[in-house]
């Protein structure tokens, strides 16, 4: 419906200017033209004044673009149209501002990380590698991440799915309201607080030592609310007729849920779970507190310290040498690739399962 406005611009009251129904309009290419001019002037100013940072060039161009749009439109059209165009250009600017950091981040990570990725980097640990040695790798960190995330998923997925089943299929009254509210609140728990809780409970009170499993427990707390929320959304989408048909045939309720409701929603639930896995795979803070890091390969998540990919990035960043920065970028690339692949597969499943044509 917003198209109506661009096709039929009656900015001013026609009665105020008798005989003028449609007044002067800017050509269609005007916004693009102003944008190009603004970028050109921004770059020229940046070069002329010797501003070192490209961020400043961009900001100058942005301000010129918005101001220029207002002044030119106000001159050619009228103030109301000018305001409208300024907002349009500001909204476009917001879009650009959102894309730029993501582009820069991905570009930097690939540019600096790609040269590190090779068989040696992926198959070696950091055992005996000094901070300013080249070489070393992420094998132990990948093992750690996979084991910690796997264990966390094993615990969090059943609890999360059952809670969602409770909320959708059974939940009535105060308990359900309380669970819904606290699931929402749990999504907001900072990961470092989850880590501190497991530290207080598992390590300080129960007396266990640092291990991959302790890290998994903190990841469970972060994962459960995401699984509950996405599963709940999916279960709500299952048509009621399916449940009624099954119950009418005399199938017990639990078998109805297990054999009719869950299979129908399986695609969506899988998507939600994979997104949750992708999210906890990148958590650093709880690992920092509970797994403690280990330069060597430790395949046993229940005994002894481990490493993990996000922790490894932090560890190498803190070392602060050229070689360790390179390793950090390499590991960042591996981690981003892992998370993005999970995301893409999850979205693929979502799209594939999207049309609910029964099963």
């Amino acid at each position: 419906m917003s198209d109506i406005m661009t096709k039929n611009p009656r900015g001013t009251d026609p009665l105020a200017r008798p005989g003028v129904l449609a007044h002067r309009r800017m050509p269609r290419w005007a916004p693009a033209g102003i944008a190009v001019a603004a970028i050109a002037v921004g770059t020229a100013l940046g070069l002329a004044l010797g501003l070192s940072s490209k961020i400043q060039w961009g900001l100058i161009a942005l301000i010129l673009f918005v101001l220029g749009t207002y002044v030119i439109t106000a001159a050619v059209e009228d103030r109301r149209q000018a305001k409208d165009r300024v907002v349009t250009s500001a909204v476009w600017a917001c879009f650009v501002v959102a894309v730029v950091p993501l582009y820069s981040l991905v570009e930097t990570t690939i540019a600096k990380g790609a040269k590190m990725i090779n068989g040696n980097f992926l198959s070696h640990s950091m055992a005996g590698v000094l901070s300013n040695d080249t070489g070393g790798g992420v094998y132990h960190a990948i093992i750690g991440t996979l084991e910690q995330v796997g264990l966390a998923s094993l615990i969090a997925i059943p609890i999360g799915v059952f809670t969602a089943i409770y909320l959708v299929e059974y939940g009535r009254g105060k308990l359900a309201v309380a669970v819904t509210f606290f699931v929402d609140v749990m999504t907001g728990i900072p990961s470092i607080v989850a880590g501190l809780f497991i530290l207080a409970f598992w390590i300080l009170v129960l007396g266990f030592s640092y291990s991959g499993f302790a890290g998994s427990l903190a990841l469970v707390i972060l994962m459960i609310p995401v699984v509950v929320r996405s599963t709940e959304e999916m279960l709500k989408l299952v048509p009621n007729e399916l449940r009624e048909a099954s119950l009418a045939l005399g199938v017990p309720k639990w078998r109805t849920i297990l054999k009719v409701v869950l299979p129908t929603a399986l695609g969506g639930i899988t998507t939600g779970v994979m997104l949750a896995v992708a999210r906890i795979a990148g958590e650093t803070a709880p690992i920092l507190l509970l797994v403690f890091g280990n330069p060597m390969i430790n395949n046993d998540p229940f005994h002894g310290t481990q490493s993990s990919l996000p922790f490894y990035i932090y560890e190498q960043y803190v070392l602060g040498t050229e070689q360790s920065y390179d390793r950090a970028w390499g590991a960042a690339l591996v981690l981003i690739a892992f998370v993005m692949i999970l995301n893409l597969v999850a979205r693929g499943i979502a799209r594939w399962k999207a049309p609910k044509t029964g099963r």
Partner: protein, 333 residues
């Protein structure tokens, strides 16, 4: 989650009919299954209670041995004898960096939400939603690495410029011009990028729900697109946008790794946000944990408890506002 939400039919009312079938014969299988699912729900509540209890117990232990005032002391020397530590700097740093993040992220996020709903060509809308989701999926440590090794050097020019021309505002004054911008301002910018997706996604869901009749009425009166948005879209979506911002604030308050890597922390409390120094709760925990003694750990847990309570209040308030319209919870954002 967004894709399925868009393509799937509107959620039916909660299956009320299914509930009535419960009265009648109760089979053991039913009892076990409903017990399991109810038990999971209760387990969540127990977990939340346990978090509060365990953190409080350890925190009480630490605060009782604190030789400074826990609320007003600037230093964080929990490992020394006598231990002196306080959260004044951390509270200040957490609030300032989050406020900077909000001031940058909220207008841009609302702008992007409007872009996706009202301005973008249809072909651009879908990919853009995907880009925003990718922004949300990038792990915080990668943001931290990028922030420290890319953003900090690139912000040097901007901070000097701000210092030079806006230094008279005190806020933008740098005590030692030319120092690397490892300050609360840079941390705030990085946090803004990180909380952009959640604010955008929740705002977009709210804006989508503005009744078409409201907008059509405004358009029929001859309003421009901006006037339509200002008169019919924003008033309707205001409460949703506020709670979206508070969800973002909750994220910003508790973010750890991005602040640890970017900020050069110190126990200095200053109004000059371009000066390096300061700290946040989460960053302080992460950076002091390695060398902490047993009391030091309890002290860090005490600061974590304060962070927990603050985020709980912010998130709880956001949820109460948002609960009026249940369809968009933002939990998947």
């Amino acid at each position: 989650m967004e894709i399925t939400k868009e393509t799937a039919p509107p959620p039916p009312a909660v299956p009320a009919a299914a509930a009535h079938g419960r009265r009648g014969v109760t089979r053991p299988g039913d009892r076990i299954f409903s017990g399991l699912s109810r038990g999971s729900g209760i387990l969540l509540l127990v977990l939340m209670a346990a978090i509060a209890v365990f953190l409080t117990v350890r925190a009480a232990n630490a605060i009782s041995q604190d030789h400074g005032n826990f609320l007003t002391t600037f230093e964080w020397d929990a490992n020394t004898t006598p231990p002196v530590f306080g959260i004044a700097v951390l509270l200040y740093g957490t609030l300032v960096s989050s406020v900077i993040a909000m001031a940058i992220a909220v207008p841009i996020a609302v702008g992007i939400a409007l872009f996706m709903t009202h301005y973008a060509p249809r072909r651009l809308g879908g990919p853009l939603a995907y880009v925003i989701d990718l922004l949300a999926a990038v792990p915080s440590i990668v943001y931290g690495l990028w922030g420290a090794l890319f953003l900090v050097p690139h912000l040097q020019g901007l901070t000097s410029w701000l210092d030079q021309y806006l230094g008279w505002t005190v806020i933008f004054d740098q005590s030692n011009p030319g120092t690397a911008p490892r300050n609360l301002f840079t941390a705030g910018i990085l946090l803004a990028i990180m909380i952009l997706p959640i604010i955008t996604n929740v705002s977009r869901e709210v804006i989508r729900q503005v009744p078409a009749a409201h907008e059509e009425a405004a358009l029929a009166l001859g309003a421009t697109r901006w006037e339509t948005i200002r008169m019919s879209v924003l008033p309707f979506a205001r409460s949703g946008i506020i709670s979206a911002s508070m969800l973002g604030l909750g994220r910003a308050l508790g973010e750890t790794m991005a602040v640890v890597t970017v900020l050069s922390s110190s126990d200095k409390l200053t109004a000059h946000i371009l000066d390096p120094g300061g700290g946040t709760f989460a960053a302080n925990i992460a950076s002091h944990f390695g060398e902490a003694t047993s009391l030091g750990r309890d002290a860090l847990i005490a600061s974590g408890l304060v962070l927990f309570v603050i985020t709980l209040l912010v998130n709880g308030a956001a949820r109460v506002i948002i609960a009026r319209r249940k369809e968009y919870s933002g939990a998947n954002a």
